[in-house]
């Protein structure tokens, strides 16, 4: 190890006005780069403070909080039903899951049984949303490592899903579809056929997409073995969802802590096997998402076949009130993994404390450790492979 070179009158020190930030990195003569907050491949407003020696990074420190909208504070200020549209904004790419997490937490407090048909509507909407979210993830990841073509392919398919969800609830991004005790609207007429038509179409596209990018030699070589996260490390840093499964942990909340109607459905939990490089590398994280889309298609087919007739809303009091200090905890499998709501009820119509625990937040915590020794260009692939969404980190 060489002695750190001291250079008190360095131009890089003076150029950065933020002393607070510089204080955290011991100045050693390495280059200090700000990647972000405005950068096309940070997937939102995130800043990475990259300490590099040439092309090799010594560290990349994530600086988050640019998109902090105090959603947890807002949750304390509005009624339980009134908070539902805000949960859309927790994760705008997969808003349906944020809705469901909140609805389930309050339903647990209420002790309400959601009607079967409403549960089916929820699962159909969520699985469609999962496909849309994974398409964005896969498309942008390919684009971030230099393959531009798959992105419009993925977005084109996502548009079909957006149309479907728009028909269901009137919105293309922030759905506000779920209600406490059910869903806002029943499936429109002929919706089942449309979903099946889409699934038929999409399963063919998925094969095409795999030919185009997943098994593409250049793409595989770029990602195989990159930033592999061992199983223990993934658990220790609390990675969830596809990131965790890519590291070889076969855990899916839908399977292992079943909620809603998932126990009635047949599907597999894809796990990373290190086919191309090491277990838990960037390619595994990519391919697990592709495999999950296929499973979502399976779930959609079963839901459409099994959906019963009946009510879509349970009997829920108009004013929801609890005694102070009651608390509930809900866990759902979002597109970005285990999403958890911790709700403490207040005396009145508002919650006393809402805590949203999201997959992206903990995924960001691991970047500092993983980035050590990677190339700068690999940082982009690493962020994309973890599928972080900035508003979900900051909330």
């Amino acid at each position: 190890m060489t002695e750190p070179r001291r250079a008190p009158e360095s131009p890089t020190m003076e150029m950065t006005s933020n002393k607070e930030v510089l204080r955290r990195i011991e100045y050693t003569g390495d280059m200090l780069l700000n990647m972000g907050p405005q950068h096309p491949s940070t997937h939102g407003v995130i800043n990475f403070l990259v300490q590099t020696d040439g092309e090799v990074m010594k560290r990349a420190i994530p600086e988050v909080g640019y998109l902090h909208r105090s959603i947890e504070k807002i949750g304390e200020k509005c009624t339980y039903n009134g908070f539902m549209p805000y949960t859309d904004r927790v994760d705008y790419i997969a808003a349906m899951f944020a809705n469901q997490g909140w609805a389930m937490a309050v339903e647990r407090l209420l002790g309400v049984e959601v009607p079967k048909r409403a549960e089916y509507c929820r699962v159909i909407a969520c699985e469609l949303n999962r496909i849309a979210s994974h398409l964005i993830s896969a498309g942008t990841m390919a684009m971030d490592v230099g393959a531009v073509t798959p992105f419009p392919y993925a977005l084109r398919e996502r548009e079909f899903i957006n149309d479907l969800l728009e028909e269901l609830c009137g919105a293309r991004l922030t759905y506000n579809y779920l209600r406490i005790g059910g869903v806002a609207f029943d499936l429109p007429e002929g919706y089942a056929d449309k979903v099946i038509t889409f699934v038929d179409h999409f399963e063919k596209i998925l094969v095409e997409f795999n030919r185009l990018i997943t098994n593409n030699e250049i793409f595989v070589q770029r990602l195989a073995g990159l930033a592999a996260i061992p199983r223990e490390m993934a658990i220790d840093y609390c990675l969830v969802g596809p990131n965790l499964r890519a590291s070889g942990v076969p855990f899916d909340v839908r399977k292992d802590l079943p909620y809603s109607i998932y126990p009635e459905l047949q599907f597999e939990v894809p796990v990373g096997r290190g086919e191309m490089g090491a277990v838990g590398d960037a390619w595994d994280r990519f391919s697990v998402r592709i495999a999950e889309m296929k499973q979502s298609c399976r779930i959609l087919r079963q839901c459409i076949a099994q959906i019963p007739k009946g009510e879509t809303m349970a009997k829920v009091p108009r004013k929801i009130k609890f005694t102070e200090g009651l608390e509930a905890y809900s866990r759902i499998e979002s597109a970005r993994g285990d999403m958890q709501y911790y709700v403490v009820a207040g005396g009145g119509e508002n919650a006393y404390r809402v805590k949203v625990r999201t997959g992206s937040f903990t995924a960001m915590g691991i970047i500092d450790v993983l980035s050590r020794g990677l190339m700068i260009a690999d940082l982009v692939a690493l962020i994309a492979s973890l599928d972080v969404v900035a508003p979900e980190i900051d909330r």
Partner: protein, 215 residues
């Protein structure tokens, strides 16, 4: 293992430092003395029967009425597929608690978040600084008595409501009705001064029949 068994395990090992199982609506939890927390957590992770390998969630709740801040740890075990909830109650004026970052790495960011938003001091944390709010922000936003500063770097944190001065339509109708009733009440005694004694006697009922006036 069920929460009861886990609590029994902890009580056998740590005695008084671990409280009884509290049935809080749905999810039972156990209170832990803040000083004993690192040992309890290390035991929870290392013990072969428990194997809590993941800290899922860490939240803090401010209770000004009891003058306390509760720190809530949601644990999960991927190896044994069971969950458990720990709570530590801290003094609101000086909320300090030992960090669990050496036990679970995910505590690093989760603790920073609670430090930022509720001002809980995690002793021994390697990098305890604000994460959501800017470094020079004043106050902890999720405290119940949090008062926002009027300005942040000469940027006002409040603004005038664009709706100031506007009146709701139903409010407007109510006011018009009240005004009409008032005018009618003024006009009514003039043509019939003889009945003034009767009017004062039934003064409370007087505005009631004039409800048909507003269009």
């Amino acid at each position: 293992m069920t929460p009861e068994e886990i609590q029994a395990c902890l009580a056998a090992k740590f005695g008084d430092a671990v409280g009884p199982l509290q049935p809080a609506n749905k999810d039972p939890w156990v209170e832990v003395k803040p000083a004993a927390l690192p040992e309890v957590c290390a035991f929870l992770k290392a013990d072969e029967r428990l194997r809590f390998d993941c800290l899922m969630n860490l939240s803090a709740v401010d209770w000004p009425k009891q003058n306390q801040i509760h720190v809530v740890y949601h644990l999960f075990s991927y190896a044994r597929r069971h969950g458990f909830i720990l709570k530590a109650k801290l003094d609101r004026a000086a909320p300090t608690i030992p960090t669990v970052e050496p036990v679970w790495k995910s505590a690093d960011w989760l603790e920073r978040e609670q430090f930022d938003l509720l001002g809980v001091q995690f002793e021994g944390h390697p990098d305890l600084r604000r994460i959501m709010m800017p470094d020079d922000w004043v106050g902890n936003p999720l405290r119940k008595d949090y008062a926002e500063q009027p300005q942040y770097h000469q940027i006002s944190t409040t603004r005038e409501s664009p709706l100031d001065g506007f009146i709701r339509l139903d409010e407007m109708k109510k006011r018009a009705a009240a005004k009409a009733a008032e005018e009618a009440a003024k006009a009514a005694p003039a043509p019939a001064p003889a009945a003034s004694s009767a009017a004062t006697a039934t003064g409370a009922e007087a505005p009631a029949p004039k409800k048909e006036l507003p269009q």
